[in-house]
């Protein structure tokens, strides 16, 4: 069983929803990422999405754009991201890691090395899933096959504008989980409408049988809880990144920990009584 499958199985057994923080790799400091990932897990993260910096992140709002630019200035590209995952894996062998980014850094990785190099190296580093923002299912065939060979899931996005035909297309190909974009807009926008999200989730679940996470635009613990009540996973991105901005490393780590802890606490309010406590390493006082 893959780490992603195992994680979602465990959560389902416990009656919990997955909490998935998104962090841009190499932000705010080039070498902070492995430590940040451990802190996020300690604070209650179930899966980590790691943003791969790209020069032209056209699906991202100002926060993730700026984080991406900052990381690039510090020389963080795909090889560095894979190295960060490898370091994280040295002491965490259970928490799934999903890379989220754009097609070009992945295609270039193979172009410079050889076809299939990215999938192989990502697997070797300990990556569990890959989400390519600008690969709709129609063009994802080659990468999907390469990743599958190495046991990595290709995660797809769906949106409220997705037609039934497109939802079916994703349902046929998706593994791991499906990422539902909660708003019309870019990451970090502030217009999430919970009823709209519910309606979209219902349409998605008519065809998609694997877990569905919701992200883009979740910027407070209360909204996160509302989303968790209807989805299988909640993704927190821009809000988390904003909490790191301008802070020295130690303070940034503390801020990330506080934020994810506050969300976890909200999500725990809906966990059935009989459930055992969260996994041991989360159970800090």
């Amino acid at each position: 069983m893959s780490r992603l499958q195992a994680t979602f199985k465990r959560l389902q057994r416990e009656g919990r929803k997955a909490l998935i923080p998104y962090a841009t790799a190499g932000y705010p400091y080039a070498d902070i990422t492995p430590a940040l990932m451990h802190v996020l897990v300690e604070a209650g993260a179930d899966v980590i999405e790691l943003g791969v910096p790209f020069s032209d992140p056209s699906a991202d709002g100002p926060t993730i754009q700026a984080a991406s630019e900052r990381a690039l200035q510090q020389g963080v590209g795909m090889p560095q991201v894979l190295e960060q995952v490898r370091q994280f894996r040295q002491s965490d062998t259970t928490t799934p890691v999903v890379l989220m980014g754009y097609a070009n850094p992945i295609e270039r990785y193979d172009q410079i090395r050889q076809p299939g190099a990215f999938a192989a190296d990502a697997a070797a580093a300990g990556v569990d899933g890959v989400l390519v923002v600008d690969y709709p299912p129609e063009v994802a065939g080659d990468l999907s096959a390469q990743l599958r060979q190495h046991g990595i899931d290709l995660i797809f996005l769906l949106a409220q504008t997705s037609t039934e035909r497109r939802i079916r297309q994703v349902a046929e190909r998706a593994s791991g989980y499906v990422y539902c974009v909660s708003i019309k807009g870019v990451t970090g926008a502030k217009t999430l409408d919970i009823d709209q999200v519910k309606a979209t989730l219902a349409r998605i679940r008519q065809h998609v049988r694997i877990p569905v996470g919701v992200g883009f635009g979740i910027r407070d613990a209360h909204t996160a809880r509302q989303i968790a009540q209807v989805a299988d996973a909640v993704v927190i991105g821009s809000w988390l990144i904003e909490s790191l901005e301008g802070k020295p490393a130690a303070d940034a780590l503390a801020a990330a920990s506080d934020l994810i802890r506050s969300v976890r606490r909200q999500l725990e309010l809906d966990v059935p009584e009989q459930t055992s406590s969260p996994k041991a390493k989360n159970a800090k006082p």
Binding site: S55, S58, R108, I112, L157
Partner: protein, 409 residues
């Protein structure tokens, strides 16, 4: 038609060989599909086609003339140079041809809000103009670096009623303006039409923009034989067609109808900036590699990590790290040659054409003129080079004067 049987690109998914396609986030998929369908429908709709032609005639002033640049040709001592005068179009460049086509499509799709990116400001001005003409809301994204370089065009856009939004991300030029326009589109997808200014972007833009711009080459196919006859030359087609290549819309517009005429040499001129060997240029075809940018796969200037590189050109309209996918394909199959002209060569051509023909060319078009002059000197007098003079140079006065001042010092 012969053209279609020989050269039939792209395929149904918008691929020109391995280039093109639609690399977009799911949040845009529905809007792009809707656009693809609308375009496929209206491109064959006689009312739409006739309406487009009428607008080009009455509002733009088409057909634009082809002019024999006799004194310029004499100076080179070689081949004769003809200019396709897109600089005489309303708003001063070829950009308006495409803008009218897309704005008509937007109206038929019921979209009342138009957004666009602009580099030199020519596409922004053309878009603001047509939005005024059709009563549509208009928002133009423009890199703050370009706003500085092309301030007269910013004033024109605002005069025409458009909102100009400065873009402060990345390199603050055309590519970043395009990113911001895409972000706007995702956010306002219900009522907004994204009017792209070149043959770049996701399918169907490279095809649609090309189709609207081929009016340039189609006119030439008719004009050149008549002109040759008048000048007593036994010819039907030019020997060489030269155009500058930024995103590639004016070039594809004049090349496309000539692709099937295999004896006609087609030459695209990229911005070689300070020189191809300096790294300070915008020659995506000559120095780029396959990559995915702004929704399509094409040739892109990028580093080893797949990060898109900053470009340099004296002309804002050529300062783009990618190029339309059809050019990448035409390069790959060898039908079009791609060369470079440096900033200095373009500036020289700018002054030369102004002095000997009384035509002040846009700095973009000056790149094509520069190469044509160089090439003409190597060819016999009987040969003819047709240059797409894509725009006029009024907008570039500040840049040129600043540069000339610097050279004098």
């Amino acid at each position: 038609m012969k053209t279609e049987s020989i050269y039939n690109q792209p395929d149904a998914d918008g691929f020109f060989g391995r280039y093109g396609g639609s690399f977009i986030s799911e949040t845009l998929a529905q809007a792009v599909e809707e656009l693809q369908q609308a375009y496929l429908f209206y491109r064959d709709d006689p009312h739409f086609v006739v309406g487009f032609q009428e607008e080009l005639a009455d509002y733009v002033g088409r057909p634009s003339p082809v002019y024999f640049a006799r004194r310029l040709s004499e100076q080179t001592g070689g081949a004769r140079i003809f200019l396709k005068r897109e600089d005489l179009n309303h708003t001063g460049a070829h950009k308006i041809n495409n803008v009218i086509g897309q704005a008509m499509l937007a109206q038929r799709m019921g979209k009342r809000r138009i957004i666009a990116e602009t580099g030199a400001g020519q596409h922004g001005v053309a878009t603001a103009t047509i939005c005024a003409r059709y009563g549509l809301e208009c928002v133009i994204y423009m890199g703050s670096e370009d706003i500085r370089r092309q301030s007269p065009n910013v004033q024109r856009m605002e005069l025409l009623g458009a909102t100009v939004v400065p873009v402060e991300s990345g390199s603050r030029t055309l590519k970043d303006a395009m990113n911001d326009a895409i972000r706007d589109w995702v956010t306002n997808v219900d009522d907004t039409f994204y009017l792209i200014g070149s043959v770049a972007g996701m399918h169907p833009y490279p095809t649609m923009v090309r189709d609207f711009q081929t009016v340039i080459g189609k006119e030439c196919l008719l004009q050149m034989p008549a002109l040759f006859k008048r000048l007593g030359m036994a010819k039907e087609h030019p020997d060489v067609v030269v155009a500058c290549v930024g995103g590639g819309s004016n070039a594809i517009g004049i090349f496309h109808p000539y692709i099937e005429h295999e004896a006609v040499r087609l030459v695209g001129v990229e911005a070689a900036g300070l020189g191809l060997e300096t790294g300070q240029h915008a020659a995506s075809i000559q120095r780029g590699s396959a990559g995915v940018l702004h929704g399509s796969r094409s040739l892109v200037l990028q580093d080893d990590h797949g990060q898109v590189q900053h470009t340099h050109s004296i002309s804002a309209g050529l300062d783009y790290p990618g190029v339309g996918p059809e050019h990448a394909w035409l390069h790959e199959i060898g039908r079009v040659e791609y060369v470079g002209a440096t900033d200095d060569e373009a500036l020289h051509a700018f002054h030369l054409l102004s002095r000997v023909e009384g035509i002040i060319p846009a700095l973009e078009a000056s790149h094509a003129v520069a190469h044509a002059v160089k090439l003409a000197a190597t060819l016999p007098k009987e040969q003819v080079i047709l240059v797409n003079l894509s725009g006029r140079g009024d907008k570039d006065m500040d840049t040129v004067m600043a540069q000339t001042g610097r050279d004098k010092r």
